[in-house]
């Protein structure tokens, strides 16, 4: 593309060929009014406000759609142009319910701005007002549509269809009756999930937040921060007024470019919940009673000190958190290691991605997403397995859908449930739960037997391929069909698509990791990717989607029992020595205990004191009945949280923490991007940021810690953590940086293993199929799997305190196939009892073909119907991750 010369308002410009007149004017610094135009959606050219005059043309040109041509002479503000724009503005206003005085959008409304710019007051209106359109649709929990304020720019329709890949709303009717809607239904019974993309893109107040901001847009302060929910790490603009969050907007910046999910936009009301913890609590005579910080800290110091003195440091353990900042995770593990003197520090990543860390580190040398979120848009084949991406990583799902819709990618979904992405897939393979190694070996068998592997890549970049070739030899499609129930032909088809696409990317999540064979599963994904040469280049790779906002960071910063920050092994004498020196203390040489081992240890007496920061094992961990007993048998339990969670209720001391809204720091999102958290509210009562609490505790334990702010902590992190070597708060004020980022000049790393694997050569690991630990039998004939849903998060302590989210889903349920519902005499929406060898819950039936016959799915967010009373705590021998995805259960009527 070269430049061409045009004239705008008598001034010559040289502009890139292919630009529109509007783009040319923008480049020339000339402002042209627009309404329907929005950079994120396809041009509609509907409003006709952006007209300009082009010499020699009979009609006016529409700047946003008309490409420039050489020697074009453009006038942007001629009398004819101004008159046209004024008349168009008048037409819009005549059809508009000009309610600016009470409209939430006033001040942030493009139509209002236009009327203002043209000085069209009520008296100078050219045309009589038309009757306003019908009623408002406010049936959605989060938004409302007022047709009387709609200018039919269709931005919302395109946003929902093209950005979100949903198409919930469309243009209805034609001509003057035109409006936006879902069809005959209102929003509440549509599949609208409240992502709010339409709200954000609407230029007027036609689609707006349902709950009024109750504040004018010019009175608010907007503060950019990172979402506290999932691992996508959406950048959000928080509208704050009077120490209250009044509105959330997606920031138009990497990685979410303005999009969010319903939790990010409408789920942050928990911050303001009445039941936030405001003072420390100490258990006295069986009850938790308010205390001062000094009392609480010295009580903890005394108790922990005593236990340590009597039994040594290794009877004390700490659970750090995937929800607190990098700086806090760093300090927490430092406190456990340097102040307490044990490596017994772990966090809930153990329950989601321990197998990823173990598996990918073995295969590639680094246990994180190899590529970046944005790269997915340009993959030619995306294999999604064990990830209900639409619900768990909603914004990533929109990118996958765009890859399919806009860029022709082939999507292969391999999942026992008929998840939403199946609707967008070229191929859906429904495997029997827990047979993932088999189908992956099957695909590799086909690829090798049809000679579709990337020989050059295998020989240059990898090692030990022969072993894998041997192992997969016996995994013929037919044999795999017998194990997985996936038809042999479909395995072949998937293998061909995956192997022959120009770039293929594997996306997985807990459906792969939460198995007793979790590490094997992960190794298989690595085998498959290396076999086809799909690691170390853009838009390819093995991409584990990390669940919680900072689960990546918690791992990176060493909240794991076997590694220091930056995955530097405890067992490696050099690392050990380095940290002893850096922290100025003797450190334990023994790997610590993992989450499940810590819980088990409480019961066996191996662990006596436990400090939990921001975790809720009483809902999140497998086999809850056991967890409950274990926590009750702890000699001393400290919980630091923002709410009195199910776990905190069992504590001896509860410390009130500041939420993400009330502190600074960084998170690391699933694509290894370190992103900034900014304080936008004051913490309630005496709640304090965890990093301050840790400093106080550690100091009181006799290992002084003091930092002016989290930025200073990051500087220390950078000094001991090579992959974070170049991370500074000052560098990520605008956009985050992806590790590895070894030094302050390094621009960060978009995708890993370019040219060479972290470990040198990529290592193939032969993996044989092993069935899940517990399979259905006559007594427990159903397969149970558990997981997350869009509207709630983790143990619900945040999301269930957001009224809008509860309006979507207010309690637990079990997905059961309609055939099973009938057969067992259950009713959709009625009660059901589900039991396993470990426990029983009562919940509500959701009759749906999403699950296969003979399968049950229970979301784990709901303490009153806690899926984890049912789950199996059998562990993967390598990563110690429990098998949360497969258990045998009974389904029965409630007696």
């Amino acid at each position: 593309m070269h430049n061409i010369s045009i004239k705008i308002n008598d001034q010559g410009y040289s502009i890139r060929e292919g630009s529109t007149i509007l783009e040319a004017c923008t480049e020339a610094g000339i402002k042209i009014p627009t309404l329907c135009h929005h950079s994120k959606v396809n041009i509609s050219g509907n409003c006709r406000i952006c007209v300009v005059e082009v010499e020699g043309w009979n009609t006016l040109a529409i700047a946003c759609v008309t490409p420039i041509i050489p020697n074009m002479i453009v006038r942007t503000h001629s009398p004819r142009v101004i008159e046209s724009r004024k008349i168009v503005a008048n037409l819009l206003l005549a059809a508009h319910n000009c309610d600016c005085m009470v409209c939430d959008s006033a001040g942030a409304c493009e139509l209002q701005d236009l009327a203002y710019d043209f000085g069209i007051d009520n008296r100078s209106r050219m045309f009589d007002d038309l009757e306003c359109l019908e009623e408002i649709d406010d049936s959605s929990p989060v938004l409302k549509y007022d047709p009387s304020k709609c200018i039919m720019c269709t931005r919302c329709v395109k946003a929902c269809r093209d950005i979100q890949g949903k198409g919930i709303i469309a243009v209805l009717n034609r001509g003057a009756d035109m409006r936006v809607g879902t069809g005959v239904k209102l929003l509440d019974i549509s599949d609208c999930d409240g992502c709010g993309e339409c709200v954000q893109i609407c230029p007027t107040g036609a689609i707006s937040d349902k709950v009024s901001n109750s504040v004018r847009s010019w009175e608010v302060e907007k503060i950019r921060t990172s979402c506290s929910y999932c691992g996508v790490g959406c950048q959000l603009d928080m509208w704050v007024h009077d120490n209250k969050l009044v509105k959330v907007e997606g920031a138009d910046i990497i990685p979410n470019y303005g999009s969010t999910c319903v939790k990010g936009r409408y789920g942050h009301t928990f911050i303001d919940s009445d039941d936030r913890l405001k003072t420390p609590l100490i258990r006295r005579n069986g009850a938790l009673v308010e205390a001062t910080w000094d009392e609480a800290i010295s009580h903890i110091t005394e108790k922990i000190g005593k236990i340590r003195e009597e039994n040594g440091p290794d009877v004390i353990a700490g659970l750090s958190s995937a929800r607190v900042t990098n700086e806090e995770n760093y300090l927490f593990q430092k406190m456990m290691r340097a102040a307490v003197g044990t490596n017994n520090v772990d966090h809930c990543a153990r329950l989601c991605h321990a197998s990823t860390v173990a598996g990918l580190a073995a295969a590639f040398g680094s246990g994180a997403m190899t590529n970046s979120i944005a790269e997915l848009e340009h993959a030619k084949c995306i294999l999604v397995t064990g990830s209900n991406t639409t619900e768990t990583h909603p914004v990533i799902a929109t990118i996958i859908k765009r890859a399919v819709r806009e860029h022709g990618a082939k999507l292969i979904v391999i999942d026992p449930r008929r998840i939403d992405l199946v609707d967008h897939a070229a191929l859906w393979l429904r495997q029997k739960n827990g047979t993932d190694v088999a189908w992956m070996n099957g695909m590799m068998n086909v690829i090798i037997s049809e000679n579709l592997q990337d020989e050059a890549y295998i020989s240059e970049r990898t090692e030990d391929f022969e072993a894998v070739r041997k192992t997969v030899e016996s995994f013929t499609p037919q044999m795999v069909e017998d194990i997985t129930t996936i038809p042999a032909e479909k395995i072949r088809e998937a293998a061909r698509i995956f192997a022959t696409a120009e770039v293929s990317s594997i996306v997985y999540s807990m459906g792969i990791t939460q198995h007793t064979t979790g590490t094997d599963n992960v190794l298989s994904t690595a085998n498959l990717a290396m076999l086809t040469g799909n690691v170390g280049k853009p838009s390819s790779g093995v991409n584990p989607l990390r669940g919680q906002n900072n689960v990546q960071g918690a791992c990176d910063l060493g909240a794991l029992p076997n590694v220091y920050p930056g995955y530097q092994k405890v067992a490696d004498p050099a690392s050990h020595e380095k940290f002893e020196k850096a922290w100025g203390r003797k450190l334990s040489k023994d790997n610590g205990l993992t989450v499940v081992e810590i819980i088990n240890g409480l019961e066996s007496g191996k662990v006596k004191g436990l400090i939990i920061m921001g975790e809720n094992p009483m809902v999140s961990d497998p086999n809850l009945n056991h967890v409950e007993k274990a926590l009750e048998s702890a000699e001393f339990l400290v919980v630091c949280d923002i709410f009195l969670t199910e776990t905190a209720e069992k504590a001896d001391v509860v410390l009130p923490a500041a939420s993400f809204a009330e502190k600074e720091g960084t998170f690391t999102n699933t694509e290894r991007r370190v992103i900034l958290l900014r304080k936008f509210l004051d913490a309630p009562g005496e709640a304090r940021p965890d990093w301050k609490i840790i400093c106080d505790l550690s100091t009181s334990f006799g290992y002084p810690m003091s930092y002016a702010n989290p930025a200073e902590i990051m500087d220390e992190i950078a000094s001991v953590t090579p992959i974070y070597g170049g991370m500074r708060h000052s560098r990520i004020q605008e956009i985050g940086l992806q590790w590895p980022c070894p030094d302050e000049q390094h621009p960060g790393t978009m995708y890993l293993h370019k040219g060479e694997f972290k470990r040198g050569k990529g290592k193939f690991h032969p993996v044989d199929f092993i069935p899940p630990a517990e399979l259905p039998d006559a007594e427990y004939p159903f397969i149970l799997s558990t997981g997350r849903i869009l509207f709630h998060y983790h143990t619900g302590s945040m999301s269930r305190r957001a009224p809008a989210l509860n309006e979507y889903v207010s309690g637990g349920y079990a997905e059961i196939h309609p055939a099973d519902v009938d057969r067992l005499g259950l009713a959709d929406g009625g009660p059901v009892s589900i039991s396993t060898r470990r426990g029983q819950i009562e919940t509500t039936v959701r009759s749906t073909e999403i699950v296969a016959i003979g399968s049950v799915f229970v979301p784990f967010h709901f303490a009153e119907a806690a899926a984890n009373r049912l789950t199996n705590d059998a562990l993967d021998p390598k990563a110690k991750i429990p098998e949360l995805k497969v258990a045998a259960c009974q389904v029965a009527q409630v007696k």
Binding site: R161, K166, G167, I168, I169, A170, V171, L172, N173, R174, G181, T182, G183, V184, S190, D423, H424
Partner: protein, 153 residues
């Protein structure tokens, strides 16, 4: 007995396929056979073509021959454009509404008849004109129009 809408959709899919460009054809098929397009047909079409339900509605609501309200077995479309308007379309409409006891765009209780007006149907040389179930009738008078409609099943 009208056929099950889903059955019609299934048949249509065999005939026209599930590509985006089949949508208007599928809708036309259902609309012609049932006189209208019920929600279940819309949902079945949406599912088969992977077009969202709202978008199918969008197309249905754009074209005036489609209806999401039940209509009569017989549809009278009386031209209301100029050549017909000048030659007595108004009286014919009046007469039809009186005779069959319904207003414009309404359906008789027995589901036999719906009366609609439409833009020029290209029979202006023989105005006033109407289409009854797609068949042209021209040079109408109020009596002639009522006779024709009376003779319908």
């Amino acid at each position: 007995m009208p056929r099950n809408p889903e059955e019609i959709v299934t048949e249509g899919i065999i005939e026209f396929g599930t590509g985006r460009e089949s949508l208007v054809q599928l809708l036309t098929k259902v609309n012609e056979e049932l006189s209208w397009i019920p929600t279940i047909a819309i949902e079945a079409i949406a599912k088969a073509t992977r077009i969202s339900v709202a978008e199918v509605y969008s197309v249905v609501s754009f074209y005036s021959f489609f209806s999401i309200e039940p209509r009569g077995r017989n549809i009278v479309r009386l031209c209301s454009t100029i050549s017909c308007a000048m030659t007595g379309q108004g009286e014919i409409l009046e007469a039809l509404m009186n005779e069959f006891g319904i207003e414009l765009f309404e359906t008789t209780d027995d589901g036999r008849l719906t009366i609609e007006t439409t833009s020029c149907i290209g029979l202006c040389d023989q105005a006033p004109a109407m289409l009854v179930n797609g068949e042209p009738h021209v040079k109408l008078t109020p009596e002639k129009a009522c006779d024709i409609v009376r003779g319908l099943e």
